[in-house]
């Protein structure tokens, strides 16, 4: 790949990224998708004299040449925007766009497993999305249920741990039950942690953290004067992971805002705004975003959050 260090911010990914055509048919092929590549973090190889070696060297070989394994982010957050626009461009119903988005997500999960990213947070449904037409909301809820059920086996094989964050009271009962089931089934997995934000917003997260702190204060566990940032941090919904602060935020469809996602946690996150729509987001765009992140790390080092 040609890499040029020029100080111009407007680099259109369309020109220089690899052409990655997605088929016009956007039927969800989740059930038929076979993952030939096992994504266990450590595979066992027979060594020279019966010694066991880990496969991290093999993972490093899988990385594209332009990425350095020691500078890979631990936590990547993604705002999956652009499904509706993608479908409209092709004169298809919005639900087709969402299904195509699911395929892009599963591809991203595969890549994250391969490249050793520890946490992937995806913004599936915002609290503001409840204002959308009821039909679209119902389709989305049923899509979430279907995807969770069908992908569970494959994700178990890949050693992925699933956590769902957001206001679950508003979700349908079946989805709430499935959410608990999926979290229990995968809680012992030690590979990639996939955090799905459904019915979530950054302000809601801060409010519920403060609410639980107030409850603790009422119970006498904590005093009002002892409330610090660290206390709030522990009460946020991202306390389910060891790496609550994303290193890299990717938002597709060219919009340059956070849209009420992980407000507290994004203080030092590299913001990458990608022009392509979410169903078209592929390996090339992901590599570009990671390259940008690694360039910043190489120049300025990571900040302590």
């Amino acid at each position: 790949m040609v890499s040029l260090q020029l100080p111009l911010s407007t680099i259109n990914n369309k020109i220089f990224s690899h052409f990655n055509p997605k088929p016009a048919s956007c039927l969800c092929r989740v059930g038929n998708r076979s993952r030939a590549f096992p994504c266990n973090k450590y595979s066992i190889f027979r060594g020279g004299e019966g010694t066991i070696t880990t496969a991290t060297a093999e993972e490093e070989r899988l990385l594209p040449d332009e990425l350095r394994p020691e500078l890979m982010p631990k936590h990547v957050a993604v705002i999956m925007d652009g499904n509706g626009r993608w479908a409209r461009q092709r004169n298809l119903p919005t639900s087709f766009g969402h299904r195509a988005g699911v395929r892009a997500l599963t591809d991203l999960i595969d890549l994250c497993c391969k490249w050793g990213i520890r946490v992937l947070t995806v913004f599936a449904f915002s609290t503001e999305n409840w204002l959308r037409p009821k039909l679209e909301v119902d389709i989305l809820m049923s899509l979430f249920e279907m995807v969770l059920k069908e992908e569970l086996k494959i994700l178990m094989r890949q050693d992925v741990r699933i956590s769902v964050i957001g206001d679950s009271k508003k979700l349908p009962k079946s989805l709430q039950k499935l959410k608990t089931e999926v979290e229990d089934t995968t809680k012992n997995n030690s590979g990639l942690q996939l955090i799905i934000a459904i019915s979530f917003s950054g302000q809601y997260d801060i409010v519920q953290a403060c609410k639980s702190i107030v409850e603790k204060t009422k119970d006498g566990v904590i005093q009002p004067n002892d409330i610090t940032e660290a206390v709030i941090e522990q009460e946020l919904e991202t306390n389910c992971t060891k790496f609550p602060h994303p290193d890299l935020l990717i938002r597709t469809s060219g919009e340059q805002r956070i849209s009420n996602f992980l407000l507290w946690q994004l203080a030092y996150t590299e913001l990458a705004f990608v022009k392509s729509l979410w169903p078209d987001f592929g390996k090339a765009d992901f590599v570009d975003a990671l390259c940008e992140f690694q360039q910043r790390k190489r120049r300025y080092g990571g900040r302590d959050s």
Binding site: A209, E270, Y300
Partner: protein
């Protein structure tokens, strides 16, 4: 004719290359009786020792071809020689020297042909490696040309941007008309703390914003450097006043002066912690006064609590980040819900045209706010 010589002659019609490679020991029994037959044998089936003893490697490469090309001629010569030598016993003693000369001549011819063949092969080998080198050079040239063309493209793009920025600065480019700032009610600037120490640049930036028509600006840097230089900035600008909290409700009515707000990291996460503490105290008081109070917590309540502890402020519509990194460096998170974030690069390289372009881009953005 000698029986063994006949054998030799018969053998020639079989695979000659194989005979050359293996003839010295395996494929034919070397005749022992006749000295001349042995000599003939060595011509047709020279051993490896004989080959290397000829002091040339070329013999090895051209064995087969030499044999194929010259065999018939040699055969005819040898047959003649044989017939002559074995024809009569009387003539055997009379013509040994002639046979010797014939044999020597044949050998010389053979070796010369072999030499020429080997030279031809070597030339073709050299030619092939020349072609390969040429091909590699050509590929390298193509690669460098590609690099050059991309560099020229970027150079052209850079020049176009600089030109556009210059033209915008000198107000020559008026084709887009006046900026519609009705959507831009509150602009926030995040500056890297190191760069924030250049107070004059900050003042220049604020002058530009004032010239564009922006009335409400929030300045943020993580370490509070801008807060410390607040007095200097206000003095330099003249017709500006700081934002007071009570002003917030009247904020968007005031149009005469530019209103500035100075924010740092302590107004961000620490501010939220203070607000949480405030809410806890409030609920505890309520509980002690009026029995069990249902905990009703919502976002507007949080906003009010933040205002109460002095870290409230309007949500910016546009956030311009001046610094090396593309992140907002801890700007009060509560206020960043739907803020457009644009990374402007380093403060050193700030340009009037770039600000106008960003604001114009913002005015064209359509937000659905999730619905």
């Amino acid at each position: 004719m000698d029986k063994e010589t006949t054998k030799l002659l018969v053998y020639e019609s079989i695979d000659n290359r194989e005979a050359f490679e293996h003839g010295s020991s395996l494929l034919i029994r070397k005749p022992r009786s006749s000295h001349k037959a042995q000599m003939l044998h060595s011509i047709y089936h020279p051993t490896t020792n004989e080959i290397t003893s000829k002091k040339t490697k070329r013999h090895i490469a051209e064995f087969g071809e030499w044999k194929t090309l010259n065999l018939r001629q040699q055969r005819r010569d040898c047959e003649v020689g044989l017939n002559e030598s074995f024809g009569s016993e009387e003539s055997r003693e009379r013509k040994p020297r002639k046979l010797q000369e014939t044999l020597n001549e044949t050998m010389m011819n053979g070796f010369m042909d072999l030499g020429s063949k080997i030279l031809r092969v070597l030339r073709s080998v050299v030619h092939t490696s020349c072609v390969q080198n040429l091909f590699k050079l050509l590929l390298r040239l193509l690669w460098n040309l590609l690099h050059l063309s991309i560099s020229i493209w970027y150079l052209g793009l850079g020049i176009a941007l600089i030109l556009q920025s210059y033209l915008m600065s000198s107000r020559l480019l008026k084709k887009n008309g006046v900026l519609n700032l009705s959507n831009l009610r509150y602009l926030a600037i995040v500056v890297d703390s190191e760069e924030a120490r250049h107070t004059l640049r900050i003042v220049e930036l604020l002058c530009w914003l004032s010239a564009i028509g922006v009335k409400h600006v929030c300045l943020y840097d993580m370490e509070g450097v801008l807060k410390e230089s607040k007095e200097v900035i206000l003095k330099e600008l003249g017709d500006v006043r700081p934002l007071e909290i009570t002003d917030e409700r009247r904020l968007f009515l005031e149009r005469k002066h530019i209103v500035l707000e100075f924010v740092s990291f302590s107004d961000g996460k620490e501010g939220v912690a203070k607000a949480a503490s405030f809410l806890c105290s409030k609920y505890l008081k309520g509980a002690s006064r009026g029995g069990e109070q249902e905990l009703v917590f919502s976002e507007p309540e949080m906003t009010n609590a933040l205002r109460a502890v002095g870290v409230g402020g309007p949500e910016p519509d546009l956030l311009l980040v001046y610094g090396p990194t593309k992140c907002h460096l801890g700007f009060p998170a509560w206020r960043l819900r739907y803020t457009e974030i644009i990374h402007m690069g380093s403060l050193k390289s700030m340009k009037y045209g770039a600000i106008v372009k960003s604001i114009r881009k913002f005015t064209m953005v359509k937000q659905n706010y999730g619905s």
